[in-house]
Structures are given as C-alpha cells and as structure tokens.
Subunit: 391 residues, 2 copies
C-alpha cells in the first residue's frame, strides 16, 4: 500500500422519504439562498421538485431554479448557472438529480467563486474553493454524491473532461432508493454498469499488497452481481435499489481505492464515445470495458484471474491461468448483456470511421499528451486497437 | 435495509512517517493550545512523542502533556485531563496512542466543555459538544480513530461503559502502520481480535436484505484472516500492518454497519471481564465470541453458515446447515488460538466464582435494565450460561 489521504466529510441521509427533510439539511450546512439545479422533466413529473420546494419554503430558505441539465452535462449551462448565482447572491447549490446534475452543480459551485473561466479547472487547475453543495440523488451510478469529482463536456469540439477537489465534496447527500424506482430499466442498467466500472478502474492496479482494498472492491462487485439484475427486472424492488445505492456511493468515494494506483483507461476511452455520440456513459462503458480488459490481460494475468475466481465464480485453471482470466471477462460481458447493455459499436450507435478521431481526442485532448491509462500506459496505436476490438 | 445517517468527516493521513506532519494538521483544524494525551512509556521510548513535540513546536503551537493512560482507561485520569484543559485554556486534544488513549481523550474533549460530570455521557446523556480532537494511532484495534465512540471504566465499582456522538469523531487521524511495528505480537493479536469482533458485532443482524454490508464485512474479515497471522509472525511486515490498519478503521467507522441492526453482545459481555480482571479487551473477546455465537447459533443458522462458507472457507452442508454454522465458529476459535489468543476463563485469568457478579453487572450495570444483546435479547440466565461456556 502507498501513503494516502482520505477525506469524505459528506453527511449521508439514506432511506425512504428522507428528501422531505432537505430544507433542514440546507439550513444545517449554512445555506440561505439556494440554487436548485436539476435535469429534465422527470424530477418535476415525479413530484420530487415540489417536495424540495416545500421543504425549502418550510425552512424559510429563498431559492432560484435552473433546470435543463442533460446527460453528459455541457459547459453552456454551467456558465448560465454561474451567472445566475452571481446575479442573485446564491450561497448554496442544491443538485436534484443524478451524476450529470451533480457534476454540473459542482462546476457551478466552483465557477461562481472563481474570477477566471471555470473550464480552467477541467484543464488541470486545482479546485480550492467552491460554494457549499448538497444533493438529492435520483440514480445510482456516478457516485458523484460522495466524491469530489465532476465531468463536463465542452460543447465546442465535444470534449469531455474531469476535475476533482476536496472543495467539491457535497456537504450532504440524500439517498432515497425509492426515488430510483421511476427509472426505466435501461437507465438502471447503465447506472449499474457505471458502478461496476468504478470498481474495475480501482481494481486494476500495479500496487502490491492491497488485500484490504481488493477485498472491498470484490465485495461491492459481488453486491452488484446479486442486486443489479433484481433492480433491472423489477423497478419497484426497493431493497435491491437500496443495496445498489450504498454500493454505488462506496464504489466511488474512494474508501476502497486508497493507497493503490488506479486505471481509468475505460473511462477515458468511453468519454470520447459519449461526448461524440451522446450515448449513455454506462452503455459506453459496457462496450469499452471488455475490450480494454482483453487488450490489457497479459499485463497481469493473475489479477484478472483473481477477479474471475473471487467475483465471477470461475474455476481456477491452475495450468492455464490465462483461460480463467479470459473467462472472467466473458462473464462480465455476459452479465452486462443480461441486464440489457450493448456489446459493440453498432449496438451503441458508434461508427468505425470515427475511430481515428476518437483515438486522437482520447490521447491528445485536454491535458493528455499522447498516452492514457494507469494500469498499462497506452499509446495511440493501442487505443486505436482497443476501439477496433469493439466493432 | 433500514433508513440511516452516516457521517465520517475525519481527515485520514495514512502511511509511513506521516506523523511528522502532525503540527500542520493541528493547525489546519484550528488548534492553538493543545493537550497531548498519551499512555505509558512506549510512545516516549520509541521517539514518537518527540516527533510530535517537534512538529508542534515547528508550527508554533503551544501544548501541555498528560500521560499515563492505561488499557481500559479510567475516569480518574479523565477528570485530571478536564481540569488541566480548563486551567490552561486548551482548545484542541491530540491523542497519541491506541484506542484507550483516544477514548480517554474523547472523554476529556467532551467533559472540558460540559458543566456537569462527564460521566453523565456514559450513563446515557447525548454528547453534543466537545473540543476538537486529532489522533496519532499506534495500534490497529479499537477503531476509535475513525469513530465517535468512547469506552471508559469507572474506578468505583469497576464499571466499563460506552458513549457515542458525532462531536467525538476526530478531526484528523494519522495512521502510520510503521508505528505499530514495535508492538509485541500478543498486543498485535489482541488488536486483530478486536477488529474481528467489530465485524461480527455488525454481521449478526436481524435486518433482511443487507447484501452490500454483509459483503463489506466479509471482505474485511477475509483481510484479517490473510494479513493477521503475517503481522503476528513478523512484527516488521509493514504491508500486512498497513492492510490491517485500514481494515481496522473501516471495520468501525460504520460504513459497513449502516442500515442494519447490530449485536454488541460480545462487547457487553467482555467489558465486564476486562473491567474486573484488567485483561486485554481483545483477549477477552477471543474467549467471549465463540461462546456467544455458539449460544445464539440457533437464532439464525443460515447467517452463521453464510459467514462459515464465505469467510472461513467451510463447505456448505446442505443437509445439515447447522454443522456448517458450527464449523465456522470452530474455525474462528482455531484462528484466534493460532495467533496466540486465549480460549477459556483459565487462560484469561478469569474465575468461575465471579460469574454471578459478572452477569449481574452486565445485565444491570449502567443504563442496562436486565437484558443485553441486539441479535438475541439475552436475560440474566442466558448471560450466565454464556459465561459458563467459557470455563
């Protein structure tokens, strides 16, 4: 294990109907003039936004609203949000939605108290200050409710870039599994896939002697394998959604990723897909992960064999560990198919002729300088080969 | 899963030599006049206290010192510490030691800003305010570095009682696995046993549909089984100590215990042993746990079978699940023996003739009113029978 710091000061309020107390928590964490940030019409239709408004009013908290966050959230709306915060004197941001809404809210929170262009933070500048932020989560996926991370897409050129910082960790997050029961099964499955990816990105490490975090990651993967299909099959299965919701937070607040190198190849390669085609991030990851893992398999056969045996229940082939390692990747792919995720470029709506562009953006976009990946350092030719494995 | 809140705002600094920065972190979290609280001579002999003093001086932070905390920390020293804080205007407590030192520091932190007798908090009063607290941990065991819990022994009558509160969570905790390398193997093993107990106390639940926390607990138990014996066999095995140290924190900050009923029978029954005989808490737990689990086995055979199969690697006996459940308890007992822990009253230095007194104190001491246990409600006759199983 390597030296590390870990700080997860978010107050989590978990369970049915807890969103009714959101005003109380905004007040507790110092909010008096709130920007309520949300996505499309579903939070309105489900009545959630009204619950939030009532609770804020009950506590005498003033608020302004900014809706319209789309999946793969854009910088355009972030600029609008920053402007609105400054104009109206907002001192607290409340994100009501999924990872896209929360990520957009984080960008606004950082940008509102920064003199320069908020995009600087997505090009490498460290976030040191932000407005305080709370969340009411509506989908288990990104883990943004418990992380200091944010991913935004720049409309000009359709680049998707990430930032991170302690100041971006929410002050509180309300996690009511019942709020996720209105999701279509496809979106539920996309969220499950994203959580699984967060776990694999941490599992694929070059650090030795990390049994505790290996085991914690495996625990969360096993949870997703048991609970995921139940939530996809029956939207109203509160208990499976509850298990997934806590697993999704734990998968990404980094308590199971500390002290070890991490990968993030699959996310980097996927980001170009969802930026270009506006496909769901989880769906993109379902196509990307098996390709990346297959390409990188020989870098550490025993690690892939370990996850195959411990998580996917494969029998260890002691004469041919590589066969076990491959069986684990097949099991992952089959699992993702079984919950309705795509397996290849065609099913995702991606095109072979874009591979050169995707590869170039992945390797040279933003702060990247020709390579990607923490587990195996991948150059342009490698990334291109990985995209081709997805055809 | 049940509704819950979870809040773990401690800043963890983990790894070799990180204690050299302790002054920086005290300053970051607002300390200007510090009480350095510690145990016996080992922190002095190892040079740790000097490292701490140097770091505080480098940052220009004034401090007073109070040593002498013993295992099973007493109220007498707590009163001294409170007095010292008030007299010298201390605004931050720094605990340098293990769970006993940290628990004593928490009691002082709460008592120093309370007009009444601090013991009120250990008789049921809720802790709402305390001085800020930091820790430099020297043994992986109690998990007090990441929890809001504290256990103190009242000298008059030798009662051991616990309290908990968000205000008692440390602002920061420095976890350097190398600091635990000077521990004798017996103390290392006691710490390992305590961590295992924290996991079992959470595992034994009556809440249904808790796969995510079941799996997380199992992950940490598996880690202890792999890494524990390595640390006991070779004091200088930094990596096994690192894995144990993070597992010990995760086992008790409650991220793996949320949303489920918990047990705490073994701790309650053990507390009377270490209060009366001043034995190591971990050693007491090693004797208590197999007895409690054997006594409670029929309450939920499948839960005991599950931990036997998933953690201890027992084969499931589908015709006789109870046999598997029992095999898991035997495996636990053998594991504890293998790391040098006692198995019965005699090895612990406890006496059969005290069982009536132990039972009475356990059931009626403090806020207890005749029963104990969250998994199975145990009355006096049950507790007595459990103590007898330890003979």
């Amino acid at each position: 294990m390597e030296n590390f710091t870990f700080y997860s000061p978010t107050y989590f309020i978990f369970g049915k109907d807890e969103e009714k107390q959101v005003g109380h928590y905004v007040k507790r964490f110092g909010g008096s003039k709130v920007l309520v940030h949300f996505g499309g019409g579903s939070a309105e239709r489900s009545g959630l936004l009204n619950t939030v408004r009532c609770s804020l009013r009950e506590q005498g908290i003033a608020f302004v609203e900014l809706g319209g966050v789309k999946p793969n959230p854009r910088d355009g709306l972030v600029y609008q949000g920053i402007e609105l915060c400054r104009k109206t004197g907002v001192d607290f941001i409340l994100a009501v939605g999924g990872g896209s809404v929360i990520d957009s809210a984080k960008a606004i929170a950082a940008g509102a108290v920064y003199d320069g262009d908020f995009w600087d933070y997505y090009e490498g500048k460290v976030v040191e200050k932000a407005l305080p932020l709370g969340t009411v989560l509506t989908i288990s996926a990104a883990g943004s409710e418990g992380s200091g991370d944010s991913v935004i897409t720049k409309e000009q050129g359709m680049f998707k870039r990430a930032t991170t910082g302690e100041a971006l960790r929410p002050k509180f997050s309300i996690l009511d599994p019942a709020l996720t029961q209105t999701l279509p099964s496809y979106q539920t499955a996309c969220g499950i896939t994203d959580i699984i990816a967060h776990l694999y990105e941490r599992y694929l490490t070059n650090t030795q002697d990390v049994e505790v975090t290996d085991r914690l990651i495996e625990a969360l993967l096993l949870t997703m394998i048991k609970e995921g299909p139940k939530a996809v099959a029956d939207a109203n299965d509160y208990q499976s959604r509850a298990n997934i919701m806590w697993a999704g937070m734990m998968a990404h607040n980094n308590s199971c990723g500390v002290g070890r190198s991490q990968d993030w190849t699959s996310h980097n390669i996927e980001h170009e897909l969802s930026a270009l085609y506006d496909c769901a991030h989880g769906a993109g990851l379902a196509v990307v992960m098996p390709a990346v893992f297959t390409y990188n398999l020989n870098h550490d056969v025993m690690r892939f064999a370990k996850v195959a045996v411990r998580v996917w229940g494969c029998q260890m082939d002691f004469e041919h560990p590589e066969a076990t390692a491959r069986a684990g990747i097949v099991a992952l792919r089959e699992f993702l198919k079984s919950i309705g995720m795509p397996s290849n470029f065609a099913e995702l709506g991606a095109k072979a002729e874009d591979i050169d562009e995707l590869t170039h953006k992945c390797c040279y976009g933003g702060v990247n300088s020709g390579t990607t990946g923490g587990f195996v350092t991948l150059h342009e030719a490698d990334v291109k080969a990985i995209y081709k494995l997805m055809l």
